[in-house]
């Protein structure tokens, strides 16, 4: 159990392929941090640098107060769960889990005790004599986790450990992993491309894109106050919609011009937009904060239904307004089909404001 930090870490594969650019991150002792981003954003590379499986091009990685840049993986006291489980096919489940203990020459009786204990915790104690190829995906994944927890390492590294499980099992494992990490209290870095996993499990989320850390904060912060329009659209499901608007004024008050509409802005956001002094904005709205109706109402914006997707409890309606498409959740009784004229409504206090030029959030 140790704090982990990245200090100005770069990873350059050569030939112009820079995987990680100037990464700075302080992970507290015992914290569960999720590295979130699309594939190729550098999150796995960052994790592998922590594990010692990749060299660091520049900067330093610190465990506690020790710089570990040049330590081989075996001397870092870490445990890692791989995306494809990476079990040893020629060994039994017992031996797979026991491997880290055998490598560090723990006594046989102690190995027996700890493997059995870990297997019980993960409910795979009846499978110990089997081989990996006889196990289902979920059981393999538990074995891989067993191999990680059996040694009580300083840091857990998870590389998309549940990406290959079916949806039902994935939901179950999210809860179990979170519980396990809380019980063991080990500093954990968890790589995922699934924003739901990050939101539900992590104490803090590091959102990465194109090798650059976009935002590092609690799930609530990342969801409520995204640092830029990219984070805003990446986190949250269904995705936030962005509309191009211009700051204008209406009877002396700050307002937003959206196509032929002029939208009034609440006093708080009005002050915020004035202070920023930007003209072109990207304005975001989350689908559950926008309403769509077939009837016109005060302040509503007219558009056409572009698509209607049933989500189960409600429907997701995509409304085409000029060249923007805005997603809104509606009751399943919403009768519009593709091409039906409809009216969109949202409150200005629920909007997210970004600079149209660089996508950065307009400061509060």
């Amino acid at each position: 159990m140790v704090a982990v930090s990245f200090n100005n870490v770069w990873k350059d594969y050569g030939g112009g392929a820079i995987a990680v650019k100037d990464l700075n991150m302080e992970i507290k002792d015992g914290e569960f941090v999720s590295l979130l981003g699309p594939s190729g954003c550098g999150k796995s590379t960052s994790l592998r640098m922590l594990a010692g499986l990749e060299h660091i091009s520049s900067g330093e990685i610190v465990f506690g107060d020790k710089v570990v840049n040049d330590l081989p993986p075996k001397d870092r006291d870490i445990a890692m769960v791989f995306e494809n489980y990476a079990l040893y096919p020629h060994k039994t489940i017992f031996d797979n889990i026991a491997n880290p203990l055998k490598q560090s020459k723990v006594a046989a009786a102690e190995i027996e005790r700890r493997v059995t204990e870990a297997a019980k915790l993960l409910e795979i104690d009846q499978l110990l004599e089997r081989r990996p190829q006889e196990l289902s995906g979920g059981q393999k994944q538990r074995t891989a986790i067993g191999r990680a927890i059996v040694r009580q390492p300083q840091v857990f590294l998870f590389d998309e450990p549940i990406a290959h499980l079916d949806a039902k099992l994935r939901a179950r494992m999210r809860g179990e992993l979170k519980h396990l990490q809380f019980t063991l209290g080990v500093t954990t870095i968890y790589v995922t491309h699934d924003q739901l996993e990050a939101l539900t499990m992590a104490d803090r989320i590091a959102v990465m894109n194109d090798g650059v850390l976009q935002q590092f904060g609690t799930p609530q912060e990342v969801y409520d106050n995204p640092a830029n329009s990219w984070v805003a659209t990446f986190v949250g499901e269904p995705q936030m919609s962005l509309m191009e608007m211009q700051v204008t004024s209406l009877e002396g008050e700050t307002a937003l011009a959206f196509g032929s509409y002029t939208i009034e802005v609440d006093p708080k956001n009005s002050a915020r937009l004035r202070a920023a002094g930007k003209k072109d904005l990207l304005v975001g709205v989350r689908p559950d904060k926008a309403t769509v109706s077939l009837d016109e109402s005060l302040g509503s914006i007219r558009g056409e239904v572009y698509s209607r997707q049933l989500l189960g409890a409600d429907v997701l309606v995509e409304v085409e307004i000029g060249k923007s498409r805005v997603r809104a959740k509606a009751n399943t009784s919403f009768a519009g089909t593709v091409g039906t004229p409809c009216y969109l409504n949202f409150g200005s206090e629920d909007l997210y404001f970004f600079d149209a030029k660089d996508g950065q959030v307009i400061p509060q």
Binding site: A79, M80, H90, F94
Partner: protein, 328 residues
């Protein structure tokens, strides 16, 4: 099917708890099958070709081994098992077996250790492609040419190897192939030189398929590169290695070209391995009946030894893994 075991083995996840759709009846499925003769016709050309090039000569070999084969106008005389019976009193035949087994065992041991080591080195080398091409060259040389090549290298007057071995004090005055003590090792060296690359090549192909994530997982588990080789790489390349050893073993048992070029079985009978003796009996003394008997015994023993080899080499790997004792 009305009940089904839970696929995950977790009581909480049992499908029975929630219920799911099942199908109890199977419809009559129309699945037309072509007649059995159709397959026979399809296979016929291949079977006939195979019969002409392998089965007929094999049957002829069996026929010969029970006859005194005549030449010219003389007809074949059936002699029963006499050809076989005589082999057990034939000291050259028995000695041929001894030499063959010794030769084969030494060749295989050296080739496996050297071949796998080379493969590991090549796998970690930046110049792998060039080196593999270089290492493959001996395999492309015809065995007779390889024999002649070493004939010069071993030459007592100007042979380079002869000079090296003598300078190192390994060899006394006599020449390598001229001495009964060293001649066998002389031909072993040719085989090792020529065929170690085959083991290297097959092992290298195996090493390429060792999953990177297993190696990395083992490193994270606390292993160094030596442990990584024995715990992850070796078990993964084992099936490849087994095929390579089997190929080499079977090849060794009919190896003759380079020996004929180098020693012709001499000095004395020091390198008269069974295949060489077989060649002598059949094509020098033209005792085709006895030759057939020798060839048949050689074939049967090769098959039996091959099967034993597969069993012996395959089983420890499985047992070892089953017992959990993988410390190597």
């Amino acid at each position: 099917m009305t009940t089904r075991a839970s696929s995950e083995g977790h009581p909480a996840l049992s499908d029975q708890d929630w219920g799911f759709a099942t199908v109890d009846q199977k419809p009559e499925i129309y699945n037309p099958q072509p007649s059995r003769m159709f397959y026979v016709y399809l296979a016929m050309p291949a079977v006939l070709l195979l019969a002409a090039i392998t089965i007929y000569p094999f049957l002829w070999l069996i026929y010969m081994s029970f006859h005194k084969v005549g030449f010219g106008n003389a007809s074949d005389v059936f002699v029963g098992v006499k050809n076989f019976a005589r082999l057990f009193n034939d000291s050259k035949y028995l000695q041929g077996w001894g030499l063959l087994l010794k030769y084969s065992a030494i060749c295989l041991s050296i080739q496996v250790v050297a071949g796998v080591s080379l493969a590991v080195i090549l796998n970690n080398s930046r110049h792998e492609k060039i080196l593999v091409t270089l290492f493959l060259m001996p395999m492309m040389v015809s065995p007779v040419v390889a024999g002649l090549l070493f004939y010069y290298l071993y030459n007592g007057t100007f042979g380079w190897y002869h000079w090296i071995f003598q300078s190192l004090g390994i060899l006394d005055e006599t020449s390598i192939l001229g001495s009964a003590d060293t001649a066998l090792y002389g031909i072993i060296l040719v085989d090792v030189w020529q065929w170690t690359p085959l083991i290297t090549l097959i092992t290298l192909a195996g090493l390429k398929r060792v999953p990177q994530d297993q190696l990395e997982a083992n490193m994270v588990d606390g292993a160094g590169s030596i442990s990584n080789f024995f715990h992850v790489s070796l078990p993964n390349i084992y099936p490849f290695l087994l095929i390579a050893v089997l190929l080499r073993f079977m090849d060794n048992f009919r190896f003759i070209d380079a020996i004929l070029a180098l020693t012709g079985g001499g000095p004395g009978n020091a390198t008269r391995l069974l295949p060489v003796y077989l060649f002598d009996v059949s094509f020098k003394f033209f005792k085709l009946g006895r030759g057939g008997a020798i060839a048949l015994t050689l074939l049967i023993v090769t098959i039996i030894l091959g099967m034993i080899l597969v069993k012996v080499l395959e089983d420890p790997a499985r047992k070892k893994a089953l017992s959990g004792d993988t410390d190597g």
